[in-house]
C-alpha cells in the first residue's frame, strides 16, 4: 500500500528518457478505463437510438387516422370504432362492460407517438393485426420524412415510434413487434426475485453469522469456506441444470415460478454470504467485548448488538445481489421461462417469463423490429438495475457509521 506516497517520489536520476517513459506509462494505464467507459457510452447510446424508429404502418381494419393530443383513451377508441363502422350503441355498451372494455383496450392500444404525418404528439390506435410496411432508423426516417409522407398509401400512417412507452411496460408479449410488451416479464421477475430472496437471505445471512460469530478455526469452518468459494465460481448455467434436474423434474414443480425462484435463490447465496460477512467483520471487537462484559450470552451479543450494527451493510449487500439475480438469463431459460407466456402470473406455480429471458428471445428472433423491442426492454431492465444501485448507494451513505 502506498497511500502515503500519494504522488510517486521524484527519482534521483535525471535521465530525460526515463522521465518521459514514466509519464507515458502512467497515462497509458488509463487507456483501458477510457475505452471501457467509451464502450459503455456506446452501448447505452446505441440502445437508446435503436429504441426509436420511424415507421410506416398499415392499419388492418382501422382508418389509419391519428388523433390530437389531450383526448381521453375512451374518446379516442370511440372515434376509432365509429370510423370503422360500429354504431354508437355497440361502442358505448362495450365500453361500459369492464371485461369487454379490457379486451378492447388490449386489442386496440392507444399510444402517444412523438411525431406523425399529421404533426407532433398525436395518438394513434394500434391494433393487434396492424401491419408494419417499413421500418427506418431514426436518422434515415427523419431525413426522408417528407418523401415518405408524400408516398403514404390508403389507410397507412407515418409515425415516429418510441418503442419504450407507457403501454410497453404493461402489455403482455405478442407475436407482433408492434404490440409486444414487457408487462408479464416484469411481473415474472418480481415474483421470482422476491421468492428467491426469501430463500437466499436467511441461508446467506445465517451462514455468514455462523462463520463470523460462532465457528472457531476448524473442520466445519474450513469445509463451509472451501465449498462457498467453489460455489461462487460455478457458472450460473450449471445452477440452471441443477434446477432443471432437481426442481423441475425430480420435485415435479414443472416450469414454474417456484422452480425458478429456488434455482436463483441458490445462485444468490454465495454473494449474500460474502457481503454479509464483510458487514459483520466491520463491526468492531470492542462492541462485542462490551456486550459480553455486561453478561450477555452469545445469542444476545450476536442478535442484539452485532447484527443490528451490521444491518445497513447487509441490506446493501442483499440489494446488490438482487440486482445481479435480476439480470440472470441462463438459469431461468433452463427451468422453463422460454415459452411465450401471454398471461400475468398469479401464483408460485404459474408459468412465467422474466425480463432478461424476454430480451434474449426478442434478440434471438433476428427480426429488425424485434431488436427495437429488445432495446426498449434493455432500457427497462437497466432502469430497474440503476434504481437498485442508487438505493444501495443511498443506504450505504445514509447509514454508514465510523467506529
Amino acid at each position: 500500500m502506498n497511500r502515503s506516497l500519494e504522488s510517486p517520489p521524484q527519482a534521483f536520476s535525471t535521465d530525460p528518457w526515463k522521465t518521459r517513459i514514466d509519464r507515458a506509462f502512467a497515462r497509458a494505464l488509463l487507456i483501458p478505463l477510457a475505452v471501457s467507459i467509451g464502450l459503455l457510452a456506446l452501448l447505452l447510446g446505441d440502445t437508446v437510438y435503436r429504441s426509436f424508429s420511424v415507421q410506416v404502418v398499415r392499419a388492418d381494419e382501422g382508418p389509419g387516422k391519428t388523433y390530437p393530443f389531450g383526448l381521453s383513451a375512451n374518446e379516442i377508441l370511440r372515434q376509432e370504432l365509429l370510423a370503422r363502422g360500429y354504431t354508437e350503441e355497440e361502442i358505448s355498451s362495450s365500453l361500459q362492460d369492464p371485461t369487454e372494455r379490457r379486451v378492447l383496450l388490449l386489442q386496440n392500444r392507444v399510444e402517444l407517438m412523438w411525431n406523425t404525418q399529421d404533426g407532433p404528439f398525436r395518438y394513434v390506435v394500434t391494433g393487434l393485426r396492424d401491419e408494419r410496411v417499413e421500418d427506418f432508423s431514426l436518422a434515415e426516417g427523419l431525413r426522408r420524412w417528407n418523401e415518405l409522407k408524400a408516398n403514404l398509401g390508403e389507410g397507412e400512417r407515418l409515425v415516429l415510434n418510441p418503442w419504450l412507452d407507457q403501454s410497453f411496460l404493461t402489455r403482455p408479449p405478442s407475436r407482433s413487434p408492434l404490440t409486444a410488451g414487457i408487462g408479464v416479464a416484469i411481473w415474472g421477475t418480481a415474483w421470482v426475485l422476491s421468492l428467491a430472496l426469501l430463500i437466499a437471505i436467511p441461508v446467506g445471512v445465517g451462514t455468514a453469522i455462523l462463520l463470523e460469530e460462532y465457528l472457531r478455526e476448524g473442520t466445519l469452518n474450513r469445509i463451509l469456506e472451501v465449498n462457498l468459494r467453489n460455489l461462487a465460481g460455478v457458472p450460473s448455467i450449471v445452477y440452471g441444470l441443477l434446477g432443471l434436474a432437481l426442481f423441475v423434474r425430480e420435485f415435479g414443480l414443472g416450469p414454474s415460478i417456484l422452480a425458478a425462484a429456488l434455482t436463483l435463490g441458490l445462485l444468490g447465496i454465495p454473494v449474500i454470504v460474502v457481503t454479509s460477512r464483510e458487514a459483520l467483520r466491520a463491526v468492531p471487537e470492542s462492541l462485542r467485548q462490551a456486550a459480553f462484559a455486561l453478561g450477555a450470552t452469545r445469542r444476545q451479543v450476536v442478535f442484539r448488538v452485532v447484527v443490528p450494527a451490521a444491518l445497513p451493510g447487509m441490506v446493501t449487500g442483499v440489494i446488490l445481489s438482487a440486482a445481479r439475480l435480476i439480470g440472470e438469463a441462463a438459469p431461468p431459460l433452463l427451468v422453463g421461462a422460454a415459452a411465450y407466456v401471454p398471461f400475468f402470473p398469479n401464483g408460485p406455480m404459474s408459468e412465467y417469463t422474466v425480463v432478461p429471458v424476454q430480451i434474449y428471445l426478442w434478440v434471438s428472433m433476428n427480426i429488425p423490429e424485434f431488436s427495437r423491442v429488445a432495446a426498449a426492454g434493455i432500457l427497462v431492465m437497466l432502469a430497474m438495475l440503476s434504481g437498485l444501485y442508487l438505493m444501495a448507494l443511498y443506504l450505504r451513505n445514509r447509514f454508514r457509521r465510523e467506529w
Partner: protein, 300 residues
C-alpha cells in the same frame, strides 16, 4: 475474539440458535451435493448409451441428426476460441487497470474507478450479447467482409470487456498487498515509479495475478448469454474466428430451449456437456486457489 468463541454453552436457547444456524448453512453444502448428484445421474445415463471414447474423440456434435454423433471436441474448440479472444482483450486491459489502481490512483480516484468497474460488472450479460450482435458484428463485418453474422470474434471481444473487472479487481488486491517497505526500498535505489510497478510490485504479486487470470478464464468459459446470442449455435470443429460455432454453454441454452423429449439421448447429452463445464470451471477455481497458496511470497 477466538477466546470468546471458546465457551460452548449449555443453555437450550443458545444451543437452538446454533443448531438453526448450522442447518441454514448446510443448505450451501446441499447445493454442491445437489449439483453433483443431479448431474451425475443423467451423465451415467448418457454414458450407458454413448461410449466415453466417442464423447472424447468424435469430431462432430450432432445430437439431432438421424445418425447422431456425440463428440465434445467441437464444443470445446468453440469454448476455447471465444475464451482465448476474450482473454486477449481482458488480460492487457485488466492488468493495466490493476497496476493503475494499485500504484498510481490516489485515495480519491481509487473508489471512483472501482465504482465504474462495478458498474461494468453489474450489466447483465444479455445486454452485452445484444450489443455484440447488433453493434459490434456489423462494425466488424465492414472490416472483415466474409465474417458470419454469428461469430466468436465479436462475442469474444465483447466478453473480454465484460470480464475486465474480474481480472483487475483480484490482480489489484494482490498488488496492493505487496508491503510498502519493498516499494520504498526500490525508490531508495533510484527506481522510477514505472520500474517499481513493473519490476518490483508485478513480480512480487505474480501469484495473485495468475490467479486473477485463471479466475477470469473460468468466468469466460462459463459465460452464457453473450455467446448464445452472438457466437451462434452450430457446433463446428474450427479455430477460425469468422465461422459460426457453438460453445458448451450456448449448446446447453439451445438444447434446453428446444424440444427434446425427456429421456432421449440428446436430453442426457445436455447434462454430459453441463458436467464437463462444471468440472472444467471447478478445476480452474481449485487451480487458482492452489497457485495463490503455493506461490505466494510471504513477507514476515
Amino acid at each position: 475474539m477466538e477466546i470468546l468463541k471458546q465457551r460452548p454453552s449449555r443453555n437450550p436457547k443458545e444451543v437452538l440458535t446454533f443448531v438453526l444456524l448450522v442447518s441454514l448453512s448446510s443448505v450451501t453444502l446441499l447445493t454442491t451435493l445437489g449439483v453433483i448428484l443431479s448431474l451425475v445421474g443423467d451423465v451415467v445415463q448418457f454414458f450407458r448409451r454413448v461410449p466415453l471414447l466417442e464423447f472424447l474423440l468424435a469430431p462432430e456434435w450432432t445430437p439431432l441428426f438421424a445418425e447422431p454423433r456425440y463428440g465434445i471436441a467441437p464444443l470445446i474448440a468453440g469454448t476455447f476460441l471465444v475464451t482465448a479472444i476474450a482473454l486477449l482483450v481482458a488480460i492487457p486491459l485488466g492488468l493495466s487497470l490493476a497496476i493503475y489502481l494499485a500504484e498510481y490512483a490516489s485515495g480519491s480516484t481509487r473508489p471512483r474507478i472501482k465504482g465504474t468497474l462495478e458498474l461494468f460488472e453489474g450489466i447483465p450479460t444479455v445486454v452485452f450479447g445484444y450489443f455484440a450482435l447488433l453493434f459490434v458484428t456489423p462494425l466488424l463485418q465492414w472490416a472483415i467482409p466474409d465474417l458470419n453474422i454469428f461469430n466468436p470474434l465479436s462475442a469474444g471481444l465483447v466478453m473480454g470487456f465484460a470480464i475486465i473487472p474480474y481480472v483487475s479487481n483480484v490482480a489489484a488486491d494482490a498488488m496492493e498487498s505487496v508491503p510498502r517497505s519493498i516499494r520504498e526500498a526500490a525508490y531508495a535505489l533510484g527506481a522510477r515509479p514505472y520500474e517499481v510497478a513493473l519490476r518490483v510490485v508485478f513480480p512480487a504479486a505474480i501469484s495473485g495475478i495468475i490467479a486473477a487470470i485463471i479466475l477470469a478464464t473460468s468466468r469466460a468459459i462459463g459465460e452464457t448469454m453473450i455467446v448464445a446470442i452472438a457466437a451462434g449455435q452450430r457446433p463446428t470443429l474450427t479455430l477460425d474466428p469468422r465461422e459460426t460455432i457453438a460453445t458448451m454453454t450456448s449448446y446447453i441454452v439451445q438444447a434446453a430451449t428446444g424440444d427434446q423429449p425427456t429421456g432421449s439421448t440428446a436430453f442426457y447429452a445436455l447434462f454430459a456437456v453441463g458436467f464437463t463445464l462444471f468440472l472444467l470451471t471447478l478445476l480452474l477455481n481449485i487451480l487458482a486457489q492452489w497457485v495463490v497458496e503455493r506461490y505466494r511470497e510471504r513477507y514476515e
